[in-house]
């Protein structure tokens, strides 16, 4: 003889705890059957389950209308899609291109620091510079600190395998320049190494990107510095210096004034 099911208060409390999971279809087999039996037998819990189910469905419908597939908030901007596709294509580069590291110029006459000749001035900051300033200004946490990785010399090693080129940071031969740390970053769709420096008067962030196809043409004031052409522009209160070494483009963003920034960049060109 089977007794009528009398739901105990304990059962109701239990159902309250598991109702969400039941409505989300997380229950199977015995759990599901038990929950359904309780709901069938208990008017209080039935009302609660029905109310919760209606509320859940109403919110889900509105959420999907607001940000689901095909809505403005549910669609990646076309420019982002293009950048991601380019980024993927770039990473598909043949192996030899990823292995061949830039060969530094062996012998270069010492940079005549101080003898800076402005060659040309073309426009204001360009996309590369703007991106670098934006990235630097956001001040995202570093993924590795020089102290944590065993000194500034270990930073390039930390990037090994994380980028498809070997970022060789320039050596700033000025006193008081300290490597704080680094993280993986990007300028638009191009993966970049980012290194942060502490300076006697201010700080700086350096982006290193691989640019074998010479797609970056920095604008701004153009200055010959030893073997390099360095371009400088100002954006959002930062001075940015951009120079190229073979396939690698360096963008140094700093709160230094232009003369100090030139001085710092010059120390990295000397004896390269």
């Amino acid at each position: 003889m089977s007794a009528r099911i009398e739901p105990s208060p304990m059962d109701c409390a239990e159902l309250e705890r598991s109702l969400e999971a039941y409505l989300d279809g997380e229950f199977e087999g015995a759990d599901r059957a038990e929950t359904e039996a309780h709901i069938a037998a208990c008017a209080t819990c039935r009302a609660r389950a029905e109310a919760r189910s209606r509320a859940r469905d109403a919110v889900r419908v509105r959420l999907r209308e607001a940000m689901g597939a095909g809505t403005p908030a549910g669609r990646a901007p076309a420019a982002l899609r293009a950048r991601v596709e380019q980024q993927l294509a770039r990473q598909r580069r043949p192996l030899w291109r990823r292995i061949v590291a830039p060969v530094p110029l062996a012998t270069v006459a010492a940079c005549a620091a101080g003898v800076l000749v402005v060659l040309a001035t073309r426009g204001g900051p360009d996309m590369l510079m703007e991106e670098a300033v934006r990235g630097h200004n956001r001040d995202l946490p570093l993924e590795v600190t020089a102290a944590g990785v065993g000194g500034a010399e270990a930073i390039p090693g930390w990037f090994a395998g994380k980028l498809d080129f070997r970022p060789a940071p320039p050596r700033f031969r000025a006193s008081g320049v300290k490597v704080v740390g680094a993280r993986l970053s990007h300028l638009r769709e191009w993966p970049a190494a980012y290194i942060r420096y502490e300076l006697p008067r201010g700080n700086a962030g350096l982006f290193i990107v691989d640019d074998p196809d010479q797609r970056f043409h920095a604008t701004g004031r153009e200055v010959r510095m030893g073997p390099s052409i360095v371009r400088v522009a100002n954006s959002r209160g930062y001075n940015v210096a951009v120079w190229r070494q073979d396939e690698i483009v360096y963008s140094l963003v700093s709160d230094l004034d232009e003369a100090d920034l030139f001085g710092l960049v010059a120390t990295a060109q000397a004896g390269r």
Partner: protein, 209 residues
């Protein structure tokens, strides 16, 4: 014949199918379009880096979302002012309103009819006002239909934590929606005995100031 690895091109094609979903979620996580774009780009960069760790035949969408949420938590969240609200007991004060069916009905469903009259901007503002730990779980469950187990793996938390965050996240969202309905003038008279939570609305105003 089953192959052990996806080709690079197959991997990319499959991954790109989830770009919209990743961006939509990233936008709600960061609440900033530029940050969301950066986050999604970083996600794809990392996905490519870890491509050999993806097991073909497993759920690529869940795998990509794991990278997205990881990247968000490690890089972006620390740089935002948003504070986690999950420090306290996660199930506090969730059941005290639910004594009777009537109270339950009110608490669950105070603005059901009004929901339909809210514009999408209000709904987005309401979800954005939910604390981030709860918001992530609600989005993963209610938008992307991930199971509790998948969400637990994506966020690297126990299933019990997913359950309590989802529970509280949904309550938050309902109160937040009611707050927006009140702010929009749709809801003028709160149901008897029901306190309309305007916290979401105030936070929104505070941000706009």
């Amino acid at each position: 014949m089953a192959r052990k690895t996806l080709s690079r091109v197959e991997f990319e094609a499959e991954a790109l199918k989830h770009l919209d979903a990743l961006y939509a979620s990233g936008l709600r996580f960061t609440r900033d379009a530029r940050d969301a774009e950066d986050l999604v780009q970083d996600t794809f960069l990392r996905a490519c880096r870890f491509i050999e760790k993806f097991e073909p035949g497993t759920n690529m969408k869940a795998w990509l979302f794991r990278i997205l949420t990881n990247t968000f938590i490690n890089k972006y969240r620390r740089s935002t002012r948003e504070r986690s609200l999950v420090d306290g007991p996660e199930r506090e004060q969730v059941t005290d309103q639910l004594h009777s069916p009537e109270a339950a009905e009110r608490a669950e469903n105070p603005e059901r009819a009004l929901l339909d009259r809210l514009v999408s901007e209000d709904v987005l503002a309401a979800i954005d006002a939910v604390p981030i730990d709860f918001r992530m779980v609600v989005i993963l469950s209610d938008i992307h239909d991930f199971s509790y187990k998948e969400i637990a793996e994506i966020l690297d938390v126990p299933v019990g934590t997913v359950m309590s965050r989802l529970y509280r996240g949904r309550r938050h969202l309902q109160r937040s929606l009611a707050g927006h309905a009140a702010a929009a003038g749709i809801l003028t008279e709160p149901p008897a005995g029901e306190k309309i939570d305007l916290d979401a609305y105030r936070r929104l105003r505070a941000r706009a100031d």
